[in-house]
């Protein structure tokens, strides 16, 4: 993975010093709350109901075991001994003290980590596919490009005060595990007719109050032009994006109001002017790519026979293998999900002790690297099949082997009313209740791939509008109600879910999920997925089932 040189290190160290001084001035009354807010947000610090919340960046979801141990240590010493992973592969501390934050950032800087631009109206962490670099269908590894974007977007002087936040996601294969069509910019590495690899560029996707699927602005961009094209889009947006209404300030609204064709004309006209000057040097591309070479794989890994024997003799292991591991481009290797969705636990949460175990397991079995995913789980990406049984046993001992990846209980969930100052309604306790209701693993496997996404307010941090089942908490005269949507997707077939009907009271949320699932079981054709069934029959049959009693 990428290693800082003296310049990268100096940049994060100077950032810590800058924020330490800003915090000191705020606490001394030299900066007002309004003046301090954007400064702390640009360092990931929110002021929440109970305590500040600090969001720490995991650039493109990649961490070393050393970094994970430091995170565990920080969570223990400065917080309550656990962290929460987010849908943008970052993680959050929910209870740090404001005056400790400069020290926390200084500790993070010692392991090449930071909280730069994890909030605020700036360019956020670039995210990617958790299987980048190991996936057989990949056209090219997107991580070097994500790192090149990270450097370009870090402290970009022109784009620190955008109309609104700006998120970029990049993938290198057709399967979209990074929700690229729901980002301000989505980048797809593609091959053109001449066999050259470049980027398809999408713009104007986004969730929140007005969910919109991104549109193609350029079918093919030469790789060397990546930064100039991004800069052109950002400049057009910085000048044109609405600043009068924060709910209309995202680039998705700019694109909708002006039309993709007009935006394309503006971007291309800007791009022509800066293209030559900002063209990436091959030397720089090679420098960054050199950090993402293949690890020292065992070419005999597939010769192992113990693994097949274990699969045959241990049904629990076989289930976990089927559900929680993913094929690897190297024969004899698998990528392994560390499930942060144990039933009865807040989705995406992990304790310091568990983090330390994961770091040890990464060192022993996966070249010392850990990845975080859009679905709020972790991945050990390079595990030999001969090691899977032992790894499974040790994950199981820590409650990290729940074999529910991509099932109904692999719920994406925001912190909700219990933790977040923005939320209108509870989300985590209800997610736990849903998981408790569906605790029969055989039934879960029979139901197959069902993505529930559960947000506690319109800001939609859990991306509910693209859930196969989306659940949105709303406030009605001081009471918590829940709006369901069906049929959304964040993948290559991206779609915004359709409203099921009127909002549902809190005590009926779990029953409503049951009704939806019962309806699906009745309606499905053999092997038909939940999403395919909803798309075939529409929302009405589900609606009838849910609202039948009323």
């Amino acid at each position: 993975m990428y290693q800082y040189d003296k310049y990268d290190q100096m940049m994060v160290d100077q950032r810590v010093a800058q924020f330490r001084d800003q915090t000191r001035r705020y606490l001394a009354g030299e900066l007002t709350e309004d003046q301090f807010r954007p400064l702390r947000l640009a360092n990931g610090l929110y002021i929440q109901i109970h305590a500040p919340m600090l969001r720490i960046a995991v650039p493109y979801g990649l961490m070393s075991s050393r970094q994970v141990r430091k995170v565990a240590d920080i969570a223990r010493r400065y917080d309550k001994g656990f962290v929460h992973f987010t849908t943008r592969t970052n993680f959050q501390l929910n209870w740090p003290k404001l005056e400790d934050v400069p020290d926390i950032l200084a500790e993070l800087a010692t392991v090449q980590m930071h909280a730069i631009q994890t909030s605020g109206n700036d360019i956020r962490n670039t995210t990617t596919d958790q299987f980048a670099g190991i996936n057989a269908e990949e056209i090219e590894d997107p991580r070097p490009w994500a790192e090149i974007i990270r450097q370009w977007s870090t402290f970009h002087p022109e784009f620190a005060y955008l109309p609104r936040k700006f998120k970029i996601a990049i993938i290198g294969s057709e399967t979209d595990r990074a929700a690229t069509k729901l980002h301000d910019i989505g980048l797809h590495l593609v091959k053109n007719h001449d066999g050259e690899i470049g980027f398809e560029v999408l713009v104007g996707g986004g969730l929140g109050r007005t969910p919109i699927i991104g549109e193609q602005i350029r079918p093919f961009l030469e790789k060397e032009d990546l930064l100039s094209y991004l800069e052109a889009i950002l400049r057009v947006y910085n000048r044109l994006g609405r600043r009068d209404n924060k709910f209309k300030a995202r680039i998705k609204i700019t694109v909708r109001e002006h039309g993709i064709n007009h935006i394309r004309e503006l971007v291309e006209a800007e791009w022509v002017q800066i293209r030559d000057k900002l063209r990436l040097d091959q030397k720089e591309i090679d420098r960054v790519k050199a950090f993402f070479t293949e690890p020292d794989y065992d070419s005999n890994a597939a010769d192992d026979t113990s693994f097949e024997a274990k699969l045959a003799e241990d049904e629990m292991f076989a289930r976990w293998f089927k559900q929680n591991t993913f094929e690897h481009k190297i024969p004899g290797y698998r990528a392994v999900y560390v499930s942060l969705k144990k039933h009865g636990q807040a989705p995406g949460d992990i304790t310091s002790e568990q983090l330390e175990v994961v770091a040890d397991l990464a060192d022993e079995f996966s070249f010392g690297e850990i990845r975080s995913t859009h679905t709020q789980n972790l991945v050990l990406a390079d595990v030999k099949q001969a090691d899977l049984y032992e790894l499974w046993q040790r994950l199981q001992a820590e409650g990290l082997a729940t074999a529910n990846i991509n099932t109904l209980t692999d719920i994406i969930c925001c912190p909700g009313l219990d933790y977040c100052g923005l939320a209108n309604a509870t989300s985590i306790p209800l997610s736990k209740q849903i998981a408790d209701r569906f605790d029969d693993m055989d039934y879960l496997y029979d139901l197959g791939d069902i993505k529930i996404k559960f947000s506690g307010c319109m800001n939609g941090c859990a991306h509910q509008s693209v859930g196969h089942i989306g659940i949105l908490g709303v406030d009605k005269k001081g009471e918590e109600w829940y709006q369901f949507t069906l049929g959304g997707s964040s993948e290559a077939d991206a779609a915004i879910g359709e409203r099921l009907g009127k909002a549902i009271p809190k005590e009926e949320v779990v029953d409503t999920v049951s009704h939806l699932i019962d309806a699906y079981v009745d309606l499905r054709h053999e092997d038909e997925s939940f999403l395919a069934t909803v798309r075939r029959v529409g929302v009405d049959p589900f609606k009838e089932r849910v609202y039948a009693d009323n």
Binding site: Y7, M11, Q18, F155, P157, E158, A160, N238, K277, D281
Partner: protein
């Protein structure tokens, strides 16, 4: 009033003329509206002439007139309005403006580094009592990853 110019605290010798105020000799700045209405008179102004622009004004339309101005004042009505960062960069890099570019309005210490990298070289701070403290902000970072007005080559070419 004191301002920061080229990283030094100096006495300001410019007058920002309201649209209603009578023309006076010496260094003055005018709004875009006044420039458009009275440009024939203003062409012959004795003393420095500056133009005040906000992010609402059409930058490209004044490009043919740029040579007439020794200063462009960019207005930041609130410090979170980042449009004029792009204006400053375009004025320097695309339109070759060599005169003074000044930030006016809600200009705070913590924005000076980014503003200076975009080509703004003088600053009327919202709080003129903190100018000495604010000077340190230009050195918040000793490098930038990007090609900026102050460092026209991106960092990777210096690595």
């Amino acid at each position: 009033m004191q301002i920061i110019k080229d990283r030094e605290i100096v006495e300001d010798n410019w007058l920002h003329l309201d649209d209603e105020a009578a023309l006076v000799a010496g260094n003055i700045t005018v709004s875009l509206a006044r420039w458009q209405e009275q440009h024939e008179t203003l062409e012959h102004h004795e003393g420095g002439l500056g133009l005040r622009l906000s992010g609402d004004d059409p930058l490209e339309e004044i490009v043919p007139d740029l040579a007439r101005f020794s200063m462009i004042v960019l207005l930041f009505p609130v410090f979170t309005d980042g449009r004029c960062y792009s204006y400053a960069k375009l004025l320097r890099e695309r339109y070759g403006f060599k005169g003074e570019i000044r930030a006016q309005g809600d200009v705070l210490q913590d924005q000076l580094f980014y503003m200076s990298q975009c080509g703004i070289n003088s600053f009327e701070l919202a709080n003129p009592n903190r100018l000495t403290n604010a000077l340190s902000a230009f050195d918040d970072f000793t490098e930038s990853y990007q090609a900026t007005v102050l460092r026209p080559e991106p960092l990777y070419r210096r690595r």
